[in-house]
């Protein structure tokens, strides 16, 4: 493993997840993610998006099917092997999931936990290489001067940047991103999405981005997978998403106003004018 740094390809086959309550969250889900590909995972609440990306690193234990990261069958690993596999998979969370009471630097360095022995992590004496990389990543996400602040002293957007740095500190071969913009304003959401997509491009990192905002998903990903009631109901390029596809994924709704409100709000806030698909004027009031 340490020798070849060929970015892994993810392969999910016939994945099933049934919770103890009997809820079938995932039903025969199969797809592949090629090296460097950024995939958006969309679908209504409760469709199983969150369960799906958690089955990939087994934060949620799949009930059936398999997940392969390169040659490695993740679903067949013992718990010690699973920990070694998890270091290769970076994860970015909804609501950031930083350890609030630790400093920004400690949060970023926690990305190395799978690599360093306990005495090093406990005494915060990480190898020089790890520290240098953590500083470089903080620089990359624009938080170099905040290294020693406590994580809960940062704003939402800054916290998510720390979350991104933490995931990258793992030297991951795959990024799992769970609703990265869920509690961010439209401008910050776009900045965070842009940052994620950029770092993926820089490192040829494949990523699965679980996102409920279809407009953002369409703008920032090269492929979308639509999940409904635990099943893949769409898999294709963002331009292929039309009203009928949205109805398949989310159910009946008047989709003609889809582009309007979200873009209008985002543009009003950011004004960075990089939107090709400027929507109609605010129509939210009409619906």
């Amino acid at each position: 493993m340490p020798g070849s740094r060929n970015p892994a390809m993810l392969s999910v086959r016939n994945l099933v997840k049934t919770y103890r309550t009997g809820d079938r969250a995932l039903d025969d889900v199969s797809f592949d993610v090629a090296a460097g590909q950024v995939v958006g995972l969309i679908g209504p609440s409760g469709a199983g998006k969150s369960s799906l990306i958690r089955c990939v690193n087994r934060l949620v234990e799949p009930s059936g099917g398999s997940v392969h990261l390169g040659e490695l069958d993740i679903t067949a690993l013992s718990s010690a092997e699973l920990r070694r596999a998890r270091r290769r998979i970076g994860m970015i969370f909804q609501e950031y999931a930083l350890v609030e009471r630790l400093s920004v630097m400690e949060n970023v360095l926690s990305g190395r936990l799978g690599y360093v022995p306990f005495w090093r992590s406990c005494t915060r004496r990480y190898p020089e290489r790890d520290v240098a990389q953590a500083f470089a990543l903080l620089e990359r996400v624009g938080l170099a001067e905040h290294a020693d602040k406590r994580a809960d002293a940062l704003s939402g957007g800054q916290r998510q940047r720390v979350g991104i740095a933490r995931a990258l500190e793992q030297d991951p071969e795959l990024l799992l991103v769970d609703e990265p913009t869920a509690s961010l304003d439209p401008k910050t959401s776009r900045q965070i999405m842009r940052l994620i997509v950029e770092v993926c491009a820089e490192r040829r990192l494949p990523a699965i981005i679980n996102i409920h905002d279809v407009v953002l998903a369409r703008r920032f990903t090269e492929r979308l997978i639509g999940l409904r009631a635990g099943r893949v109901v769409f898999d294709g390029p963002p331009d292929a998403i039309d009203e009928s596809v949205l109805t398949t994924i989310y159910g009946d709704e008047d989709w003609t106003t889809m582009d309007g409100p979200a873009n209008a709000v985002a543009d009003g806030a950011s004004g960075d004018g990089d939107d090709g698909d400027d929507g109609v004027a605010p129509v939210a009031a009409a619906t």
Partner: protein, 272 residues
């Protein structure tokens, strides 16, 4: 707007639906029965008023002693008792905390596997079900009079208190933070160190200080059954009807507990 006007006028009266019992007759019957039982129960309490009158006088002497405390006459005994109590309190709290932390972690459902969880919960249950005085009597019988029995009693009682509350604090942590640390490939110890410890540390610090002052107060009580410390001195003073010395001892206990309260506030603030 015109829409709304066309509808029938909305009701103007609204009462909160009953929370617990929906049927009105059942609710009223139960309330009446409860009141009747309370009256019946109070009427069975026998009060010997002549005894109360005598006792009041004795109590008044006690209060007088309290108002005119005598720190001087028995100062040597008081000083020795205090030193014993403070030593016993501090050592017992430290030992108790050191033992409680692993037991508390083991008694947290979200961290420990089922067998460990059950064993740790059992330890906590045993420690909590035995009141300090009973434990003190047992240890005095086993190890003889003196502060060593007191030390063991307080350390034992600390486990039940601290391990239980620590386990609850651990079970209440924000799981998202733990999940994020787990996702990095962290080991169990690293998970505890990075995701759990930062979240429970302020609470743990507060609980330790709180237990320190409980232990000091308890040291006064268990002294009465022979476990040494200021309690033994207090007991002797009361036995000799030296209420002025007893008052002095009580005042010292109050001051020390207040000091502990005050410093614990400062320390807790520093930890949050």
């Amino acid at each position: 707007m015109s829409d709304v006007a066309a509808r029938p006028t909305p009701p103007t009266r609204w009462t909160r639906p009953p929370v617990l019992i929906r049927r009105r007759w059942l609710r009223r019957t139960l309330a009446t029965l409860a009141v009747l039982y309370l009256i019946a129960a109070i009427s069975t309490v026998e009060v010997n008023w002549t005894r109360v009158a005598e006792g009041l006088e004795r109590g008044w002497r006690f209060v007088q002693g309290f108002l005119a405390p005598d720190f001087v006459t028995r100062w040597n005994d008081i000083r020795q008792g205090l030193i014993e109590s403070l030593t016993m309190t501090l050592t017992a709290t430290v030992a108790g905390v050191l033992l409680s932390v692993p037991i508390g972690v083991g008694a947290a459902r979200n961290l420990a596997p089922a067998p460990v969880y059950l064993v740790c919960r059992a330890i906590v249950a045993v420690s909590r079900s035995l009141q300090e005085i009973i434990v003190a009597i047992l240890f005095v019988a086993m190890f003889g009079f003196g502060p060593f029995a007191g030390f063991l009693t307080l350390a034992f009682a600390t486990i039940g208190f601290l391990a239980k509350l620590l386990a609850e604090a651990i079970e209440d942590i924000d799981e998202a933070q733990a999940e994020a640390v787990r996702a990095t490939g962290a080991s169990w110890l690293q998970l505890v160190n990075y995701a759990v410890q930062p979240q429970v540390m302020p609470r743990l610090a507060g609980l330790c200080l709180y237990r320190l002052d409980i232990n000091f107060r308890e040291s006064a009580v268990i002294g009465i059954v022979g476990a040494g410390g200021i309690g033994a001195t207090l007991n002797t003073a009361i036995d000799r009807y030296e209420f002025d010395s007893a008052g002095a001892i009580l005042l010292i206990i109050i001051v020390i507990v207040m000091l502990a309260e005050y410093t614990s506030g400062i320390v807790r603030k520093a930890f949050s």
